[in-house]
Symmetry: C2
Subunit: 98 residues, 2 copies
Amino acid sequence: MAADSDVFKALGDATRRAILDELTDKDGQTLFEICGRLTMKHGLASSRQAISQHLAVLEQAGLVRTRRQGRYKFHHLDTEPLRAIVERWPIDREEPNP
Amino acid sequence: MAADSDVFKALGDATRRAILDELTDKDGQTLFEICGRLTMKHGLASSRQAISQHLAVLEQAGLVRTRRQGRYKFHHLDTEPLRAIVERWPIDREEPNP
DNA sequence: GTTATAGGCAAGTCGCGGCTTGCCTGTCAA
DNA sequence: TTGACAGGCAAGCCGCGACTTGCCTATAAC
């Protein structure tokens, strides 16, 4: 379903946002690849199961799509659900006059 | 400071999003006014203290600014912090071709 | 075959966040 | 001055979510 609520909940966690950052940097990574990168860059707690559960949340929110291939599962970023939440409140796009 | 983390955390709660919706509909409301409206429209749990704490979170995130006047405290929406989070990930703005 | 790799599932722990409860401060009207 | 109204503060309860632990399945390499 990917309700707005799920999207906001998914974005509410710092580790999940870091995962989205990672997929933005390199799309189509596997679970272990993401784990490795997260432990490298950020000092985030990133055990395999933790990341797996985070990915499940992101997938349910529609922010991540998966593609199975053999024993690998590639994760792809999908920013489409972000459009709805972006347009929810009026955002001033103009720069403040100095 | 209003770190990105605070903004996402603030947006993670449904009641707080409803408050932002309310302020979008009518800016500059007081605490009791918001309480009344929330109980009207949504069946959300919206005791005075609960809403007060939610407003504190929104204020810390920079999404709400307050203005004191006598015994009233008016709450104003500020969508500026949303700009940063909107631009964090690439969002496809084109409509899908039908 | 056997072993290592990539991932899944389920139960359990634990801290944080949302909400309540109770009481207090400050402002306005009578 | 007294009472009603708008809001604040602090401690406590409690459920949910993040993380772990342990074990299991499946694909690929040897």
